[in-house]
Symmetry: C2
Subunit: 365 residues, 2 copies
């Protein structure tokens, strides 16, 4: 990728993919099963989403990578023709599966859908992601709990590095980038080891995984800070699993270019909207008769077309349109936050702006 | 309304409302709680919906007519600025309430939401509908089961006529039309009596109620045929509760101008799509790998943007986008069917066209 501007450690850049150029830093809305819940590709474009994410675990099980390949790829199947990334499925295996068994060969797990047994190997998840055909694929990694024993993290990161090598060896699509993943828990020296092993294999981009999984925000940022600075300057840096506005601004300040999380879309389905003045729970009775816009500073379809009172009604009645309109807003809001961040980085004013933004977000009610 | 063309008993016309002109015959999608589930006003316009319906029963209970009035009216609250009709709530009281008590004064019932007790009187439902501010409001009627005793139908239709008079007396909005409702079960003489009593009071439009509630289709059509022909020629005729394509074509052939039903939108949420070749259940395994469009003859966003395989995937996974896209299609399909019907009526070819259309719909698989 091309780094256009740097402000402290924060970077603004451009990432070219076969399906278009992505301006970074960028938030990737999660299209778990080949759809960002409730939204069409046109909605996503309108909301300013630059790149979206698909979950290999889910798509492998439902509808199956073979079926997606028959449709052409996930772009053709879902109608989204912009940049796309698929994860390797590893995280879901470790977070969703009730039973799983890790070996050098791969990880066996029971499907969350029907309990059937499957095995993800580096070779398989690479092939599945080639079938899905996203612009960016991820290596299969293990994501142990942050508080696992140090010895476990050591073994795990080394196995993840060996898996990464096998993924790279198995990867053959030239129109798809394969990113490596750095693990190592909260141990800075293990993070360094994982990073060195991964960079040694050599990938066009690197993710920091295994954070934002239960440790404190302070621990997360400290570990990320120690890791991100060692990543190759010219490669995109992807922080896996952050989507709250404050967290986004914090990881951007540490030099992260890309991040994803279900939070903005999941919050929406639970009736919560992101605004510069904090998170609004539309189920709160104070919104019942509030006929103003959801976020007066937002230009999305939801904020320009509907009142808080109407949205509160939809949310209380669990109406599909409520889920859809709040999802649209939260995606637009998050994309716009990244757009603002890029502008501030380019102006060299990122740190002060982010500090003021977070202060307003956290103190408002 | 202005009748532009007649073909047999079928009519094509224009109905002017404060929020625009409606071409008839027209299907009214049901926006139960102030939203046609999953769709925005822009979607509805794009799908060709000419007039939509709101349910007074639901809106009175949630969010409350006073709140809607504070927003301006249901148009302002929901963002739909086209023609709109509200029912009186009577049908929901009789179909949803577990307990209800009818008196000359009105009907007491327990809310389906929280069991709280309410009473709908002709005066109240008229005032509530004035608060909602639709272009067309309906009188409060009782809708007895078709198979109720003849004596019951007799008493009921006379009470409904007395209620209709009270509604008219209570109605004061000059920018809102109040329609009468003809009841009488399956008894042609009682239908005639109800019609005469209602027309005697005098309304700018008339509905035929109490059909499509469990009787056979043949009985329904026979009763409608005997009723519709006696309705004033110059007044719009609204058949309450039909939305399947065959039923629509049948009631149009009997001179009906307007009709509503949750069927097209409810079917969509259950994974079924309406097409000229019959109803398709997207859960059927034959669609899993069908990469063609849902309805090759349809120009809606769903049919031009997505494959049956993708829609089948969304439906199987109960994805919001599946509900939305199928709802959009079914509304578009039904609106388009009415548009075709208008054209055929204008050409004087309605009967043969409708026969051929029904034959294809019913024999395809």
């Amino acid at each position: 990728m091309e780094v256009l501007a740097r402000d402290g450690e924060a970077r603004a850049g451009l990432l070219d993919t076969p399906h278009g150029r992505v301006q970074t830093p960028t938030f990737m809305p999660v299209g778990t099963k080949g759809t960002v819940k409730g939204l069409t590709p046109a909605d996503l474009r309108g909301a300013g989403a630059g790149i979206i994410l698909g979950n290999t675990y889910h798509l492998y099980l439902r509808p199956g990578a073979d079926l997606v390949r028959e449709a052409g790829d996930l772009h053709a199947f879902s109608g989204w023709d912009g940049p796309m990334l698929t994860d390797s499925g590893g995280f879901q295996v470790f977070s969703l599966a009730k039973t799983r068994k890790i070996s050098e060969r791969g990880v066996r797990f029971a499907s969350v859908y029907d309990g059937s047994t499957h095995e993800f190997t580096p070779e398989l998840t690479t092939r599945v992601q080639e079938d899905l055909g996203a612009d960016i694929a991820m290596v299969l990694d293990e994501c142990p709990p942050a508080n696992a024993a140090r010895g476990y993290h050591e073994d795990s990161l080394r196995r993840t590095a060996r898996w990464a090598r096998r993924c790279k060896d198995a990867h053959s699509r030239e129109d798809q980038a394969l990113f490596g993943i750095v693990q190592g828990g909260l141990h800075e020296d293990l993070r360094r080891e994982s990073l060195e092993r991964t960079v040694e294999i050599g990938f066009p981009g690197y993710a920091v995984g295994g954070l934002s999984v239960g440790e404190s925000r302070e621990e997360m940022l400290q570990t990320l800070a120690a890791t991100a600075l060692m990543l190759p300057w010219e490669s995109p840096r992807y922080f896996m699993g952050i989507g709250d506005p404050v967290g986004i601004l914090q990881v951007i300040s540490l030099g992260v270019d890309m991040f994803d999380c279900v939070l903005p879309t999941r919050l929406a389905r639970h009736g919560a909207a992101l605004t510069p003045d904090g998170r609004l729970n539309l189920k709160n009775s104070r919104f019942r008769r509030d006929f103003g816009p959801l976020d007066p500073e937002c230009s999305c379809e939801t904020c320009t077309g509907y009142s808080r009172a109407y949205l509160a009604h939809l949310v209380r009645e669990d109406e599909l349109l409520g889920h859809r309109l709040l999802t649209l807003h939260n995606v637009h809001f998050t994309a716009n936050l990244c757009r603002q961040a890029r502008r501030e980085i380019s102006s060299g004013t990122y740190a002060a702006w982010a500090r003021a933004w977070i202060s307003r977000y956290e103190t408002a009610r």
